[in-house]
Amino acid sequence: MMLQVDIQARIGELDLDIQMDVPAGVTVLFGPSGAGKTTVTNAIAGLFRPDSGQIKLGDKVLFDGRQNVPPHHRLMGYVFQDARLFPHYTVRQNLTYGGNHDFDQIVDVLGLGELLARRPAGLSGGEKQRVALGRALMSNPKLLLMDEPLAALDGPRKSEVLPFIAEIAATRNLPVIYVTHAMAEVTQLADQLVLIDNGKVAHKGPVIDVLADPIAAKYFAKRDAGALIECVVERHDIDEGITVLASGAGPILLPGQVGRVGVGLRLLIPAQDVMLSKTALQGQSALNMIEAVIDDIKSLPNGNLAVILQAKELPIWAELTPLSVRKLGFEAGQNVFAIFKATAVGPV
């Protein structure tokens, strides 16, 4: 069921004007703090009333300026950054507050069995978020909203929850709107990516397409800008301490033992870590070298150039200085080799 959002609101200094369609899968809203992401999710949940516009879920109008369906009639599951569990109820009572749809299965998937009799006060941050996710799912929502559900957790706690979210998103036929400003969550979860800046949609589309476009790069930390590629774990070379992935551009090597053989994973190739060579190199330490054709060269806001490559089926791009591009005479249509270190492309 498609969610259509077209809302306008003035909140303090921010002029919010958002148009987006949310299909099935995970749609990540990404952008700096104060850009209006949470306001959008609150409007979808019915917790914030926009000044004008329309919100539709399938054929059902949730908001159109005159009517505004109250939150308890919207059937939107909402996982908040601060969990918002009911402190006076046990975990079991929290979970079933909105219904007990798929109780056993959800308890099992989220690993909540041990916690059922406890109260929120005795839970870790990661456990609280798992309960909050379970509680939202058991209300059998039509759509799941998650507002930076991992932001309040430290690193290890994050990895305690993220796989659960990924599994829920992959196995349930439930559109998910996921707000974050952490790149690891984008690369691991997103099907669609909507970049929100200063109350407006700056870019939107399938995550791979958005990340492949250097124009969107300015919204990410420098370390995070780059193409996202989908690979499959081909084999582990235990002796050499590397993992070999199959990708649309040929084998890619990663350090260490990553994933299980046959499992798909996404790899972010940071544009700043990609080096281009006109000829195949030898005697360099970087393990990954793939053949590619230059598709286009674009200017980046920081003065550098983005060299967009087509490596067989994969679009990737490299950030180079104008000096390098001029000295080597790179231009569209040229064959090059893209080289990057195995250690630069950690699994995401």
């Binding site: 949940a45 918002r84 909105g98």
Partner: protein, 229 residues
């Protein structure tokens, strides 16, 4: 009169008056506290001022106003008498009314603080889970403000038990009907040689007040532990 029936009559009458006053005032105090804490409306300040008036007016003035309004010839008292045959003035029910009105501002204040301390985000979360505003109030808000309600109830009960000025003006101190512990103590002090009886009434007052405080502290600690997030 140390432990004769008259003594126990005064104590049980006081408890009955205070308990009735508190029980009837409580739901109203919750409603008014909710209104003041959660709603912005025209006349917010006026309602707030009216609620707090008994706290700052001389109690005798409050008692006199009650007499005018709720006396048998008063606008409200007259109607009550004609329709239901109910008389409040110079009756224990009138003592309960006076005690309730005097206790009301203290109850509202305590409960309002409770409302203001509830994270409205938790209520919003309940709404997204499909709970109607009524269900949110009953299952989330009310349990979360329980410590505030408890504090308001104990404060209100203690105030009602000790109410003197408004009560004696509105309902006098008729033995067996409206003579409460404070008015009995005052009456006895006017008669030489009754200090013995006064001591026991004072002792009962202290025990009741301390008992209420200790029980409420204990309950509040338990609730706070349960709610600690």
């Amino acid at each position: 009169m140390q432990f004769d029936p008259a003594f126990w009559g005064i104590v049980t009458l006081s408890l009955r008056i205070a308990a009735t006053a508190t029980m009837i005032a409580l739901p109203l105090a919750v409603a008014v506290a909710w209104l003041l804490a959660r709603r912005q409306f025209w006349g917010h300040r006026i309602v707030n001022g009216l609620v707090h008036l008994p706290l700052v007016l001389p109690p005798v003035v409050t008692g006199y106003l009650l007499l005018i309004v709720f006396g048998r010839n008063g606008p409200v008292g007259g109607v009550l008498y004609k329709l239901f045959g109910v008389t409040l003035a110079f009756n224990w029910t009138g003592a309960a009314l006076a005690a309730g009105i005097m206790a009301f501002p203290l109850m509202v204040r305590a409960i309002r603080l409770g409302f203001e301390a509830v994270d409205s985000g938790i209520e919003a979360a309940a709404a997204t889970l499909g709970a109607s505003p009524r269900r949110v109030f009953l299952t989330v808000t009310l349990p979360l403000i329980a410590p505030g309600i408890l504090a308001g109830t104990v404060l209100g009960f203690a105030k009602a038990l000790g109410e003197f000025g408004a009560t004696i003006t509105f309902v006098a101190a008729i033995p067996g009907q409206t003579q409460t512990i404070p008015s009995a103590i005052y009456g006895l002090l006017q008669v030489p040689g009754q200090e013995g009886a006064v001591v026991w009434l004072v002792a009962v007052s202290v025990v009741l007040a301390m008992g209420a405080l200790i029980v409420s502290e204990w309950l509040a600690t338990r609730m706070t532990k349960r709610l600690a997030a």
